[in-house]
């Protein structure tokens, strides 16, 4: 079921992961293949679901969102509050960018953006602590992040 990748596929994925706007013509020039053949390769990766849309990277700080916090959340009342209720409520919070259901020390992992620490406190108190079933919460403030190319080398 898994797509077999060759060196050209991996090179195209590496390039597109850095700049998703690259045209088939430019990709072809970089890797010594024709525009139509680069286009066919990219199309094949899209069809197989390997290329799954685009992500826009913005300068959050310059846009006024200077604080990003990861929260680990443990539900207090498992069984009584449904996971669906918690998930529906948490995904509706505009400051929450990412919600992951995890297994381990916590039940959920959230990525939260805020203008500053005071704004984060507001989101935490008014939005997060009031979620149905929320128990223990751990916060870690993001200092730096980098995306790696992964096993495409």
């Amino acid at each position: 079921m898994t797509l077999d990748l060759d060196d050209l596929d991996r090179a195209l994925l590496r390039d597109l992961a850095r700049d998703g706007t690259l045209s088939a013509g430019e990709l072809g020039r970089r890797h010594g293949v024709s525009q139509p053949s680069a286009w066919r390769r990219v199309r094949r990766l899209e069809t197989a679901g390997v290329l799954k849309g685009q992500r826009v990277v913005v300068n959050r700080t310059a846009l006024g969102f200077g604080v990003t916090v990861f929260l680990g959340i443990k539900l207090a009342t498992k069984g009584r509050v449904s996971l669906e209720d918690f998930e529906r409520a948490v995904t509706a919070i505009p400051e929450v960018q990412v919600v992951q259901h995890v297994l381990g020390l916590f039940d959920y992992r959230l990525r939260v953006v805020a203008r500053d620490i005071a704004d984060f406190e507001r989101v935490l108190r008014r939005r997060i602590m009031t979620l149905p079933g929320v128990g223990q919460v751990e916060a870690n403030v993001l200092l730096s992040e980098e995306t790696r190319p992964g096993p495409l080398g």
């Binding site: 992961a17 700049d19 706007t21 992500r55 826009v56 259901h101 870690n140 992040e145 790696r148």
Partner: protein
């Protein structure tokens, strides 16, 4: 020092962040501006360093990586080079797809992918436990991503 942006810029950014795959004509329509205005505003935002990149998203699961684990590390802070050494070594592990540093109980988080649990165990033993200056590790295994958006409440 923040760059001046107006409501039109914010509207364009909000729609773009909500749906990054939008072509400029569709984005313009949703933001209620002409294509020319939309294009000019996007150029301006890019030049001002607000719009940094548009990256393609790779679905590792579609490439056979079924397991994703968030590994949270506490480092030995008596070692002055703990962060630098640890991060440099983590960059050498191909299955590490993301590195984050924090202020809090956790110092560094690595996002690790593997083909299956046997493969994960092998990476964990051979590549992760051998990273320098680790004082503690906690693992969170990803079950499902419920929401993944770059959206900002602009």
């Amino acid at each position: 020092m923040s760059i001046q942006i107006d409501d039109t810029d914010r509207r364009i950014l909000r729609h773009l962040l909500a749906d990054p795959a939008l072509a400029t004509p569709d984005l313009a329509e949703r933001a209620g501006v002409t294509q020319a205005t939309c294009w000019r505003r996007l150029e301006k935002l890019a030049e001002a360093g607000l719009l940094l990149a548009r990256e393609a998203v790779v679905d590792w699961r579609a490439l056979g990586y079924e397991v994703e684990v968030s590994l949270r590390f506490t480092l030995d802070k008596t070692e002055p080079r703990a962060f630098d050494d640890f991060i440099a070594a983590a960059r050498e592990v191909p299955e590490v797809i993301g590195i984050e540093t924090f202020l809090g109980r956790v110092d560094v988080r690595l996002n690790v992918i593997a083909r299956d649990m046997a493969h994960y165990q092998q990476i964990y033993r051979e590549r992760i436990l051998t990273l320098p200056h680790i004082s503690d590790i906690e693992a969170l295994m990803l079950i499902a991503t419920i929401k993944d958006s770059a959206g900002l409440p602009l």
